[in-house]
């Protein structure tokens, strides 16, 4: 078994109208090269799940700017330069499902763990819980939230082996391990491929069972640095 692939091949399976989870919190952990491969692939009508809504004109912002995203599920569609999303949103060209960050997180985790619904105190009594079922447990009120799953997840890792065992780099871990579990097909870009067995079994954060395709991207672009340089994709 060898899950290594080329980015263009791996993203070529993403179809029009697919739901795609994209890892990262802001620029940390964002799989820029995979997103750009998806832009090259040219697929349309995507629903994207990400914590944010892109920054500048690269990565997720570029995917939105190319008109490939119909709906965004996120917690915080603001950034240093959120104009691409903001303009489209205010023009009614993109739908937004705003989800509290911890609820977004837990919905993704639930999707990966086979938990179709759960109760959380988060959002109870607020506009973001409107229309959702509620229930009382031990005298406190909670909101019922549903799992989130995706057709594809695109994530960024640090080390990977051919089976898809992964580690991450510092705070770039964020959404990547949980999104890896919640998609039918998970594509990872890893900064360094290593031999099977080279990652200590104690240090593997994502076991390969969750991974379908591994792409080595040795010197990945960093969204923050691209934006400081005024980069635009494509």
């Amino acid at each position: 078994m060898d899950k290594r692939a080329e980015a263009a091949d791996a993203v070529s399976h993403v179809f029009d109208g697919a739901t795609v989870m994209i890892g990262g919190f802001g620029g940390s952990g964002a799989p820029i090269e995979l997103i750009h491969a998806l832009i090259d692939h040219g697929v349309k009508g995507l629903t994207v799940i990400n914590n944010n809504a892109g920054n500048g004109h690269v990565g997720l912002a570029a995917l939105i700017e190319q008109g490939q995203v119909d709906k965004l599920i996120c917690s915080f569609p603001r950034s240093a330069d959120p104009r691409v999303f903001t303009d489209r949103y205010l023009a009614g060209q993109i739908e937004l499902e705003l989800v509290p960050q911890g609820t977004l997180t837990e919905r993704i985790r639930a999707g990966g763990a086979g938990i179709p619904a759960f109760y959380t105190p988060t959002g109870y009594g607020t506009d973001l819980a409107e229309g959702k079922p509620t229930a009382e447990f031990d005298g406190r009120m909670y909101v019922q939230e549903r799992w989130l799953k995706a057709d594809f997840a695109m994530i960024k890792a640090e080390l990977a082996d051919a089976h898809g065992n992964l580690t991450y780099r510092m705070a770039a871990r964020n959404f990547n391990p949980i999104m890896a579990t919640a998609a039918t097909t998970t594509i990872v870009q890893a900064t360094r491929m290593v031999e099977l067995g080279a990652i200590d079994p104690e240090h593997i954060i994502t076991p390969g069972i969750f991974i379908n395709h591994v792409i080595e991207v040795p010197r990945p672009a960093q969204e923050e640095e691209l934006n400081r340089a005024g980069a635009v994709y494509p």
Binding site: M1, A113, G114, H163, T181, G197, P201, E202, I204
Partner: protein, 229 residues
């Protein structure tokens, strides 16, 4: 009955047959006991990746006696080994793999399998101390849930039945049954006979089966090597 006990496959042969259906790179959980035998019979060139629900993926075979490390065990609490690719994780992550549908196959034992796919494999209903472990979790989530079993009980009663009479492990969960006499799929509420051993007639097989055996076209011959250890 006497006749059947002479012609039926051994447990090793049943396990061998189940192993033939596991593709290279499949993620597989083998239930405690008899199903664990499946790991021995992987065809050449194929390497399944085994999951044990206490928190290890891609582990190796049992160590030499005397070389056991009791912090490195499987769900049956038998010593295992690491190999290149092994990963450790905690129980919640482990059952997320199970419940979340990430296993390709779970292979379990059974007291009874109903034609609806219902499985009874955790309790004989006879009192004593009940114990369930991960059985009820494993039957939900894996893409295929296969059962290995003798075709009949020790007293000759069918184990493939119309409805389970023993306490259920799960509803409508079994997809394929490998028995000592046949390979049977569960499809849309009935048993679909895929293979039978050549030395039993369809009628005789039906007689020891507690629900109708359907067939689509040819029923293949179920033949396993004789010399399995």
């Amino acid at each position: 009955m006497t006749e059947i006990s002479k012609i039926k496959l051994s447990n090793a042969q049943i396990a061998w047959r189940a192993a033939q259906d596991i593709p290279d790179g499949a993620y597989v959980n083998l239930g405690i006991g008899f199903p664990e035998m499946v790991a021995r019979f992987q065809p050449d060139g194929r390497q399944a990746i085994f999951h044990t629900e206490n928190g290890v993926l891609d582990f190796g075979p049992a160590p030499e006696p005397g070389r056991e490390d009791w912090d490195l065990i499987n769900a049956g609490k038998k010593a295992i080994t690491v190999r290149p690719g092994t990963a450790f994780f905690h129980h919640a992550d482990s059952f997320a793999m199970v419940r979340g549908g990430h296993l390709d196959v779970a292979i379990l034992g059974a007291y009874q399998v109903a034609q609806t796919g219902d499985l009874a494999n955790w309790s004989t209903g006879r009192g004593g101390v009940p114990a369930v472990g991960g059985a009820m979790d494993l039957v939900h989530g894996a893409k295929r849930v296969a059962v290995l079993t003798d075709h009949v009980t020790k007293s000759g009663a069918p184990k493939l039945v119309d409805r389970c009479t023993l306490p259920l492990t799960g509803l409508g969960c079994v997809t394929r049954v490998y028995t000592s006499l046949a390979v049977v799929d569960v499809e849309e509420g009935h048993f679909l006979l895929r293979e039978k051993i050549p030395t039993i007639t369809l009628d005789a097989l039906q007689q020891v089966t507690g629900a109708p055996l359907h067939a689509e076209g040819q029923v293949a011959e179920l033949v396993a090597p004789e010399d399995l250890a």
